[in-house]
């Protein structure tokens, strides 16, 4: 992708709504939802919403949040996005302890398992690390600079995650590449040693989400309507489950051709045995069982949710894995549904996370459309027609013909 495309992509996205995101505290003490620039946290134990204190001296988020995550132990939380801010939060009690300014918009975040480093990826494909030394003494962090540690060549990184044993940092880009890198003892010197690349996705098929599961496996979901199982040590592809085709979700893409809908998110239970998959246009979610000894993926069940225009955008599971959290749209209606009906925190929680429960249906439907198109353009790589490409080339000055 060249710079002009990137900047333009950024620009056109200004008018689009970021998909809503959900993250669940590993032991389900709280749940966080990001809607646009708004971060909402609900304390599941106290049964109340959390008012977010910001002692960091940094600005609050003022543009779409693109990534949120809890640390492995749940003590830390990070939010980041289009406003180029990476906000690091203490979760007990909730307060922002540090705000890092990124040079570019941020597309993915992760917290190292020992909670000593926060890593984030920017729109140019560079992964940065921030050293959290000092935080554990509960000091407010000062002068922590982000340091670039690795990069994908000019492709937007869509997800970033640490392996459960902390050995690897795994980054996936919008083109197709999943890179598994050794996470060194001194990450600020750079993460140079590549363990593997998970290849096998055709370069034109965008990857939307992945999750690392125990014993060195990884599950990924992509724009070609598949979920794949990989071995991260060798990078080999072990199994491919054509979820769209198997569930009979053929859809028209507006043109003549029909295609299967993209996987928009997935999340696995901590033991890796069950994978929940959100698929564009599927009103509900799909559950896959992952057999780690046979190294296979198979569909167990499609959970249809009979809400109208229910389009999940983000999924979350706590370590306890009792409940699956689903966020559906970015405007605030109907943000979560639980596997069973026992919502811890009940109505209050819903109210907090939704903002308001009584939004009119028309608004919701309109919102659903916006989300759909936001998702689509996030997931489907831009394909320019030949004329458009030519036109774009002409407008650029680095292509002058020299002979």
């Amino acid at each position: 992708m060249d710079e002009t495309t990137m900047e333009e992509g950024d620009h056109s996205r200004d008018t689009e709504v970021a998909p809503a995101l959900v993250a669940v505290h590993p032991t389900q003490r709280s749940v966080a939802v990001a809607v646009g620039s708004d971060l909402r946290v609900f304390d599941l134990q106290g049964g109340c919403s959390v008012s977010l204190v910001d002692d960091s001296g940094g600005r609050p988020h003022n543009d779409s949040i693109r990534a949120i995550c809890y640390g492995a132990k749940g003590k830390l939380f990070v939010s980041a996005g289009d406003d180029k801010l990476v906000k690091i939060w203490n979760t007990d009690p909730w307060s922002c302890i540090y705000t890092v300014s990124s040079e570019k918009r941020v597309s993915a975040v992760a917290i190292s398992n020992d909670a000593l480093f926060v890593c984030f990826a920017d729109k140019f494909g560079v992964v940065w690390a921030v050293d959290l030394d000092g935080f554990h003494e509960n000091q407010v962090l000062v002068n922590k600079k982000a340091v670039p540690i690795l990069a994908h060549y000019c492709s937007i990184i869509t997800s970033l995650e640490f392996s459960p044993d902390g050995q690897f940092i795994v980054s996936a880009d919008r083109d197709f590449k999943i890179r598994v890198t050794m996470f060194p003892k001194k990450p600020l010197d750079g993460a140079h040693e590549i363990q593997s690349f998970c290849l096998g996705l055709y370069p034109a098929l965008p990857l939307s989400a992945f999750q690392i599961i125990p014993q060195g496996f990884l599950v990924s979901g992509s724009g070609d309507s598949t979920v794949r199982l990989w071995d991260i040590t060798s990078g080999s592809l072990l199994d491919t489950c054509e979820v769209g085709a198997e569930a009979g979700l053929l859809q028209s893409n507006g043109g003549e051709e029909e295609c299967y809908p993209a996987v928009t998110d997935l999340c696995a239970t901590p033991d890796g045995s069950l994978v929940a998959v959100a698929i564009q246009s599927l009103s509900g979610i799909m559950l896959l069982s992952c057999n780690l000894s046979a190294k296979t993926l198979s569909i167990v069940k499609v959970v249809t949710i009979m809400e109208e225009a229910f389009i999940p955008t983000s999924l979350g599971i706590s370590s306890a894995a009792e409940l699956l959290w689903i966020v559906t749209d970015s405007v605030g209606y109907d943000p979560i549904v639980l596997e069973d009906n026992e919502v811890p925190g009940g109505v209050q929680l819903l109210e907090k996370l939704q903002g308001s429960v009584s939004i009119q249906k028309e608004v919701f439907l309109a919102a659903a459309e916006t989300v759909k198109s936001a998702m689509r353009s996030l997931l489907i790589k831009k394909q320019y027609s030949v004329e458009k490409r030519e036109f774009r080339k002409k407008g650029r000055n680095d292509r002058k013909i020299k002979q």
């Binding site: 710079e3 495309t5 690795l150 000019c154 492709s155 370069p203 013909i401």
Partner: protein, 275 residues
Amino acid sequence: MCSISVSQVSFGWSISVNLVWREMLENEANPYLSKTTRLPRKRFYRARAHSNPLSDSHFPVPVAPSQVDYSLHYPQLFPSSDQDDGSQKIKFADIGCGFGGLLISLSTLFPETLMIGMELRDKVTEYVKERILALRVANPGQYQNISVARTNSMKYIPNYFEKGQLSKMFFLFPDPHFKEKNHRRRVISMHLLDEYAYALEVGGIIYTITDVEELGEWMKACLEDHPMFEALTEEDLEADPVAKLLGSATEEGQKVARNGGQTFQTVYRRIMPNI
């Protein structure tokens, strides 16, 4: 008169190029061939001087190294794709190979080694293909171990080579990209060196040369700072037959030499990181 219509042919090129080539050889008055050498003339393949490596082009990319079809690149050594048991792999890669001069010199120097040039410009790649095919025809049994692929090396190296597959990588006279904001387009950078270190075996060697002093310093600094590379000693360099070729084997090098330009050469070895 025959035309060269191979630019549209993707992976099936070697066969169609062969046909075109034979046709061309039969045609005495073919303007694409030099009368004296019968090799394709460079001026008919002239292209833009520089490509923007950041732009997404549409050329086929192998899904993974195991999918690189050796029978298309080295047809005499791999008569059919099913006979390729994967035991012999490409060991040398010339990144941004230009018109292919280095590959041609190395081909006879290391006749048992498979090598590939990677080149972003379509026309230049076509020229190199033609050139290799002509050499194969003119020298039966020779030049079977070299080939070229049109690709963006900054993006697709992991699609061509497995971890630790390569023993040598060459970066001869790469585009300088002077402006600070374009430094990230340079083929040698700290981040891209991670990928080269991945593709190179421990002990493998990376060769760089440029006539642009600033770029020479940049490449040296990157390699020096990278924990997975160490400089070759003077003795190592003396003993290395390839190091001597860097300034003279390629078209760019010859041009610089003709103009009496200075060159800056940096050669490093892939080592185990000390973390």
